[in-house]
């Protein structure tokens, strides 16, 4: 028994392949979940934003579903969809969807009506107003929603280990079952945090590049 240190660099080096495979699974699952959620949430938000009752109802339902714990959601989905990647992905999409929907709607509704009036005065049709005025104005809110959803999704993926697919969570759980081997758990945890911060930074940079006007007005 080589002892049980809290962290061991040599474990990371010896198991770099395994770590990379799990991190890659983790990353793919996260990106896939957030991308699917965004592909649903953004058009949905644009569709309902002018129907206030419907938008309020959607946000209300989203808040209720968001209350359901991840483990419970996976436990409900897994017996129905089978064990493995699918129930985890679906659960993650649901959570990300709720965050994105709320943020996007907030961004779209916060727009100054005078701006919309001005755009109409320029002869923009409804579709053009949406594409060229509403969506760009909501972009900062969308980006912050994407960052929030991505970071939470990275943490949530680990719970997926319960239904058989957890990316880095698998390493955490293996380390636990394998005589509580701490180095494996903490290496996986650090990898998870690094992944979250890297994705967050990338989204922040992308958001900054996409909204040059926000910087100009701040300066």
């Amino acid at each position: 028994m080589p002892g049980n240190p809290w962290f061991r660099w040599s474990w990371v080096l010896d198991n770099s392949d395994l770590l990379a495979t799990r991190a890659w699974q983790h990353l793919l699952l996260t990106i896939e979940a957030v991308a699917i959620a965004a592909a649903i949430a953004l058009p949905l938000a644009v569709l309902v934003v002018r129907r206030r009752r419907l938008a309020a109802a959607l946000v209300g339902v989203a808040a209720v579903v968001y209350t359901v714990p991840s483990l419970a959601l996976f436990a409900i989905l897994a017996p129905l969809l089978g064990i493995g990647r699918t129930p985890v992905l679906l659960g993650l999409v649901l959570y990300a969807l709720l965050v994105l929907l709320r943020q996007t709607l907030a961004g779209l509704t916060a727009l100054d009506p005078a701006v919309v009036e001005a755009a109409r005065g320029l002869g923009y049709g409804p579709a053009q107003v949406t594409m060229r005025v509403r969506l760009p104005a909501a972009l900062p809110a969308v980006v912050s929603g994407l960052r929030l959803a991505t970071v939470s999704t990275v943490a949530l993926v680990t719970v997926g280990v319960v239904v058989g697919y957890g990316g880095l969570g698998q390493l955490m759980f293996e380390g636990f079952r394998n005589n509580f081997y701490r180095a494996e758990i903490s290496a996986a945890t650090l990898a998870c945090l690094l992944l979250a911060f890297a994705l967050d930074a990338a989204l922040w940079a992308a958001g900054r590049a996409l909204t040059p006007w926000a910087r100009r007005s701040a300066a």
């Binding site: 209350t67 714990p69 129905l80 680990t158 319960v162 967050d200």
Partner: protein
């Protein structure tokens, strides 16, 4: 699939499953007690600290980066990892879970108290100072009531998060309703997994609804329109 559904219904319909020692009723009670301990411990630390930081920074002042950084980092930290690491340190079961859940809840409570006190109407604060109130009384008699809606919202979010987190403990030998799910997965009784999932989800929704009412009651009447969920 309908098989699993039937199994789940049969499981939930068995009175013995509920009432025996260590049955669902016992597990629910344990779940709630663990929640209380975790949120209580976190609140005892985070609420005064958040209120003090908010009082110190004041409105318009430069915000404490700590609060923002804490609440952001806590989102990225996988709770499962904390529970497992605590377990490898010899802290098993309920104690480890309460600690991990408390760590999870503290930033939410801190942010609620901080934002609430910091965002208290500056005019009310100045008026209280003008009346000659000491800083401690300004905080307690003016800022704290004005902060009540945000503090209550923070407490509600924290409680629901903790109720939702405690099931993870079952993976490391902890108690609470998560045991139903963990046992079901271990023995491949997916009906039981489904039943456990529905029970935990139901408990969370129920507690959220109860706390929504409490949050409303905790909000001074003139502030009710402004009270929002975080």
């Amino acid at each position: 699939m309908s098989d699993v559904l039937a199994q789940a219904l049969r499981y939930l319909n068995d009175p013995l499953v509920w009432t025996r020692d260590g049955g669902l009723l016992d597990l629910t009670r344990e779940h709630l007690l663990m929640t209380l301990a975790a949120v209580g411990a976190a609140a005892a630390l985070a609420l005064p600290l958040g209120a003090w930081l908010g009082h110190r920074d004041g409105p318009g002042g430069r915000g404490s980066g700590i609060v923002v950084a804490l609440s952001n980092t806590s989102r990225a930290l996988p709770t499962l990892a904390i529970i497992l690491l605590l377990a490898t340190a010899g802290l098993f079961g309920d104690t480890a879970t309460i600690l991990a859940a408390g760590v999870f809840a503290a930033p939410v409570l801190l942010a609620g108290a901080y934002d609430g006190v910091r965002g208290a109407d500056p005019a009310a604060r100045d008026a209280a100072r003008g009346l000659g109130l000491s800083p401690a009384r300004v905080l307690w008699q003016v800022e704290a009531p004005l902060a009540a809606p945000l503090v209550a919202a923070g407490v509600r979010t924290a409680v629901v998060q903790v109720v939702a987190t405690i099931p993870l403990a079952a993976l490391a030998g902890g108690g609470g309703l998560g045991q139903v799910i963990a046992f079901g997965m271990g023995t491949q009784r997916y009906g039981q997994v489904l039943a456990g999932g529905v029970l935990v989800a139901g408990l969370c929704l129920l507690i959220d609804a109860v706390l929504a009412v409490a949050q409303r009651l905790a909000t001074p009447r003139p502030l009710r329109a402004r009270a929002t969920r975080r």
